[in-house]
Subunit: 582 residues, 2 copies
């Protein structure tokens, strides 16, 4: 194996082009095996193998600096920079993260997981070099849909002003996670079909020199191109045309499915999946029904349709009622706000981790204008995710914006009722934190009038202790109630439903025969729901215990460990409560 | 006066071109007089008079929809849409806001005050039209620096996908608030010098048709151009070259100074100003000193240098140590993070209201990477500002991000010490909430070691009641302490200094001989500082009273009224405290 001989980037320089082709095949093999075993980003990494080899062959990392956008295509880079064991040895598959990580290697500059950040970061790296009088190359690798994000566009606009060495490799695989949207991608197409010769060139308009490489999976051509731009003294874009999923036929033919995949997909692709009821299916049915009725509903997402179960079939069925804005969350929120203001019915689906890209748009474009959109926030909650993809901050972020109504359903029936309420009202922006995990059903239709804002639901009346179990943690609240029974306490159980407000009347009533209020929320405590309850009772004798996540970036910490750390088990909560009752 | 005859846009259609030229002069006259009387945006409005007349002449608002970016150039639009009294009659100068406001007129669609939002909003307006089967023109007016913001770029990229009527008027006055930065502006220049003929055309690369109008202050040429694009069935950009400040010589020659101006500047421009010590001067001296010592400091701002006192002289003096990224706050934060990571010393100055454009960058690019930048947040606090420019949300936004250290100095000496600490450390991103209002000086050097995080300062030890006066409100805390004395209470006075953490030890100690803790913060309570104190004491007998702003968008509400509303006067606070002590 050639790979056996490669322990650091400089080892590449002993190889012939033929060797490098063999190496590329070997790298593909280990990537395919690993990703099919533990899951991860398949297509992006298979597509970028040759480019990564060529980058490390031509440039000298870590003196020259690589910044990988999203960094979900850094597997080949990790293999070439001393971390190949994490790809070869199944026992070490989990040793390295799926993203660049400075704590792992001097070849990684930043922790990166959100899109469209590489060019701006690279500008800072280049400016630091210049102001310190150093000399080296700065190379940002971007593509795979990230180019359309506002931060990337701001960065590209600013790069030209540096007036010094700056290289952007645009990995054009003709895809985002799903198909590309936006005028920019038509320009990339024009550049491809003219072999880079078209004068109408997006990158040139921003002040970049420009070079096109049609064969982006040909290591020889890439080395040639990168050699040309090495040590450039002005900003240059190298536009490389690659094949996403290159080398794995299934992934080449099913680019979206193999962008990120669960373990085993290579073996199981196309086989019938177990069907189960889920919140995504409820949303899809809801939208379809409105479309069929001829209503002006518009389902919006920002480049991640798979997260919401928006399959190709479904997207096609929606037709003009579907908008994928590409990676452009800011645009999505403003666009939705204007749709709602003009009488259409936008439903914006977004992952909790990515909704944070839109705070100003939620505040200014949306909430200040009080536009009645429906925003469905997915995957919100504590988890064992990478630090780059945590979903524990959305409640603190969204719930403190004036005019916003942020709802936390605890089951299918509540979710359906909230969807209907949000869709039919014209008073407020409404966000719904779609429950995480398996679907819960009470079997009883929820007839709550949600236009009565901030009315918590008193589920079971007890005394001494009241438990407010918000959204995902309502189940935990029920368990705590059961556990308290063993201590002789018949606790009150409350389902708050509203994250954005406090039910003063109900909270006031609790004072009569309760001495402790417990809040449970599936997210960071700081700025969240529980603190508002603590503030409410600040002037009273009521004790308040807030349970939720701490303010920290956790990185792949198993969820059970987090629950222990944050006292989020019935046992630990009961212990804390009884301590205070003494 | 022609203006006398104009009460609604359709009245324009009775005018000859000559009449319209006269009208433009008359409009300029009232704008100059009003802005010189009460302050406001001078240059942007003087530059856009003819374009606004032409827009209303050619299109039919409110059937056709205008969306004004930033909407700081909507004065001519307001004059033409039934609100001219607000510009002619000094008694009614304050009747209408300086921004578009749907509650004022059916000709205003959105409340807009932050930049770069118009194109995305217009996309939503156009899509709503299309999906409802309506017919009308949608016109976004953008320029004056806003084009470089990520949201605008995302919007432009998406507009092409609409495939229907969509008109963007790019108001190119060759300026932002200050000079323009970014490759994009070189392209605008190329388009200007080629009279719009250059093939390398930013807008065309994004899928727009394109039309150039060299004489952007010639109403006849503008009418001609707008007539050509009216009822277009595909996205088109009309690039108009205007003169910022047109018609007021002083404003034409001093474009930056007359972008937004205080009352009387037309009369007083160039006259010597009273010199007074301010926080901005401290920052500038701090930066200059570092530059002189040859340190790798980089002062960064995003298109608003005047806010920080970064005059042209100062900028030139800094040379390569100065970066204006243009309207591109997201880029600014990522850029600063990378600078710090690579050993340079970035100091990013930003207004509280605009820092909210960067939450994801603060979280992912900055805090997750723990890059030791210095971020100076200006103007934070409750105010009588327009709803679009409130500065009361930054604490909730910034202080809940892990790893961030957010400091609240209460005087000059603390500000200096915090600046030095932040600049010299390499452990954390540090934000400082630069005190608002007049400079306060104790005259005593602050020798605090701020690397000891979350250590509150016990200023005066008392009993029963402890007052935590954060940042701007430390002065109020002192007043409350004095007022409590008249009630026979010798309160403890604490200067928390840290917004991002809680001094558990000190708070624990307070339990010994205090029964009430009062928190005072100059910003929204929700998600803020006080709630964390309430949470801390939730399991104890300590009563906690949080004072600060409510979660709401206030719009030009006098600050005294807000202080009454929120109980932020010594009298009202003492009343609330004594109520609880009984």
């Amino acid at each position: 194996m050639i790979l056996d001989k490669i322990n650091m980037p400089s080892d590449l320089r002993c190889l012939t082009v033929e060797d490098m082709k063999t190496l590329a095949s070997e790298m593909r093999e280990v990537i395919i095996k690993k990703v099919n075993t533990i899951g991860g980003h398949m297509g992006p990494n298979l597509g970028i193998v040759e480019a990564t080899i060529a980058m490390h062959y031509v440039f000298s990392s870590p003196v020259d600096k690589f910044i990988f956008d999203v960094s979900h295509q850094c597997y080949p880079h990790k293999i070439l920079t001393g971390r190949k064991e994490g790809f070869i040895d199944p026992d070490k598959y989990l040793k390295y993260t799926g993203y660049t990580a400075p704590e792992e290697s001097e070849h990684d500059l930043f922790k990166i997981g959100h899109t469209s950040t590489s060019v701006s970061l690279a500008c800072g790296v280049a400016k630091a070099r210049d102001i310190k009088g150093e000399k080296h190359n700065v190379i940002a690798l971007i593509g795979d849909g990230s180019l359309s994000g506002g931060e990337a566009l701001e960065g590209l606009d600013n790069a030209a002003t540096l007036g010094s060495n700056f290289i952007v490799i645009v990995n054009d695989n003709e895809m985002s996670i799903a198909e590309n949207y936006g005028g920019l991608y038509d320009n990339l197409k024009l550049l491809r079909v003219t072999n880079g010769q078209a004068e109408c060139n997006f990158f040139k308009t921003l002040g970049f020199d420009y070079l096109y490489v049609e064969e982006g999976n040909n290591v020889e051509k890439l080395i040639e191109a990168f050699s040309k731009v090495k040590d450039t003294t002005s900003p240059v874009v190298v536009h490389i045309h690659t094949e996403k999923g290159c080398g794995l036929e299934l992934a080449e033919k099913n680019k979206e499915a193999f962008h990120w995949m669960v373990p085993g997909l290579v073996d199981n692709f196309g086989k019938p999946q177990a069907e189960y009821e889920c919140y995504e299916a409820i949303t899809k049915k809801f939208i379809s029904d409105k479309v069929e009725k001829g209503e002006p509903v518009v389902a919006i997402n920002a480049g991640t349709p798979g997260v919401f179960g928006f399959t190709k079939d479904f997207r096609q069925k929606l037709g003009k009622h579907y908008t994928d804005v590409g990676i452009a969350e800011e645009h999505a929120v403003a666009y939705a706000s204007a749709l709602a203001k003009c009488g259409a019915k936008p439903i914006f689906c977004v992952m909790s981790s990515f909704v944070q890209r839109t705070y100003d748009q939620m505040s200014q474009d949306l909430c200040l204008n009080n536009s009645p959109i429906t925003m469905l926030v997915h995957w919100g909650g504590l988890s064992g995710a990478d630090a780059t993809h945590l979903c524990s901050f959305d409640m603190s972020l969204i719930s403190n914006i004036p005019n916003m109504v942020y709802l936390a359903p605890t089951c299918k029936e509540e979710y359906q009722a909230m969807l209907e309420y949000s869709y039919n009202q014209n008073e407020h922006p409404v966000a719904i934190r779609v429950p995480a995990g398996m679907l819960v059903s009470t079997g009883e239709k929820d007839t709550t009038d949600y236009s009565q804002l901030n009315k918590f639901k008193l589920v079971e009346k007890g005394e001494k202790v009241a438990i407010l179990g918000l959204g995902n943690f309502f189940t935990l609240a029920k368990e705590v109630k059961e556990a308290l029974k063993t201590q002789g306490i018949d606790a009150t159980l409350i389902n708050p439903k509203f994250i954005t407000g406090v039910d003063s009347e109900l909270l006031e009533d609790l004072k009569a025969n309760h001495s402790v209020v417990v809040t449970l929320e599936d997210g960071m405590l700081d700025g969240g729901f529980g603190e508002k309850i603590a503030r409410f009772y600040g002037n009273s004798d009521m004790k308040v215990l807030n349970f939720g996540g701490m303010k920290e970036f956790t990185d792949r910490v198993p969820i059970e460990e987090l629950y222990e750390r944050y006292h989020l088990t019935p046992e630990l909560i009961v212990k804390d409560v009884t301590k205070i009752l003494k």
